[in-house]
């Protein structure tokens, strides 16, 4: 599991790749939660790009839930984009789309969460 970062205006785009399972979930949490500190009104919009995530288990969902919970309590904007195949299936089973904002791709996410950042996204 790897997380790489790209900034576009006030949006922090975090591209996650690989497997998020019980073995890697702690690393995912360590990479994600500190970045949520600035996810608040007037702060960073955070979008996770899941296009290269091959697998996620409930251990990964737990981290996403903690992240969304933190963003929500800070009135921050947080979303996940580009769910693929089986990963999308488990999001659907878990009804996670009802908890976390999910988008078809990063551009769609920025269009809704931060139109200003979309202009500087390449």
């Amino acid at each position: 599991m790897q997380v790489t970062e790209q900034r576009a205006g006030n949006a922090l785009l975090l591209k996650v790749s690989g497997r998020i399972d019980r073995t890697t979930a702690d690393d995912f949490q360590a990479a994600l939660l500190p970045r949520l500190e600035q996810c608040k009104t007037g702060g960073d919009v955070i979008v996770l790009d899941f296009s290269a995530v091959e697998y996620i288990s409930s251990a990964g969902f737990r981290v996403l839930l903690l992240a969304q919970r933190k963003a929500k309590t800070q009135s921050g904007a947080f979303g996940v984009a580009s769910l693929q195949g089986g990963v999308k299936d488990v999001f659907d089973i878990s009804n996670f789309a009802g908890v976390i904002r999910c988008y078809g791709n990063v551009r769609d996410a920025l269009a809704e969460l931060s139109p200003g950042a979309l202009a500087s996204y390449t």
Binding site: R22, T23, S58, A59, G86, I93, S94
Partner: protein
């Protein structure tokens, strides 16, 4: 071609990667597609994690074998799975349900999704207590859409 394989794993998260490799190797050899392989690995990861973290009492020494036994078998167009542990009797499928996220964010439950994933992804999943073990039987189609 091997049509049935059984393995015993120590109930320790250190062995999760071996369990995963066992499931991936078997399902690949069986001709399962990517979706099916991922579903099998996911279900076994959730069951194994559940056994390790909630099944066997951490301080209990009276259970001689803190282990998990997994048997995989090809049955025409699916893989049949037997998953067993010797933890105290518990049916993880019984209370599997969608967590309630309707309240404020502070009240959201952060657990409980694993068993829901198992129940949703596994075909014909059923639990029984036999010979001092919890046994969960289920199947995964070789070609999930």
């Amino acid at each position: 071609m091997v049509t049935t394989q059984s393995r015993r794993f120590e109930a320790d998260l250190e062995f999760l990667s071996r369990l995963r490799r066992f499931a991936e190797d078997f399902s690949t050899a069986a001709g399962a597609n990517q979706q099916s392989r991922n579903a099998l690995v996911l279900i076994l990861e959730e069951l194994f994690t559940n056994t390790v973290e909630h099944g066997y009492p951490a301080s209990s020494e009276q259970i001689a074998q803190k282990a998990v036994w997994i048997s995989l078998a090809i049955q025409s167009d699916r893989i049949a799975v037997d998953y067993e542990d010797a933890a105290p009797a518990h049916d993880p499928l019984a209370n599997a349900k969608l967590p309630d996220y309707s309240g404020s964010a502070e009240t959201w439950p952060v657990g409980g999704l694993g068993t829901l994933l198992v129940k949703s992804l596994a075909s014909d999943a059923r639990y029984e207590r036999a010979a001092g073990r919890n046994r969960i039987r289920f199947a995964i189609p070789l070609k999930l859409p």
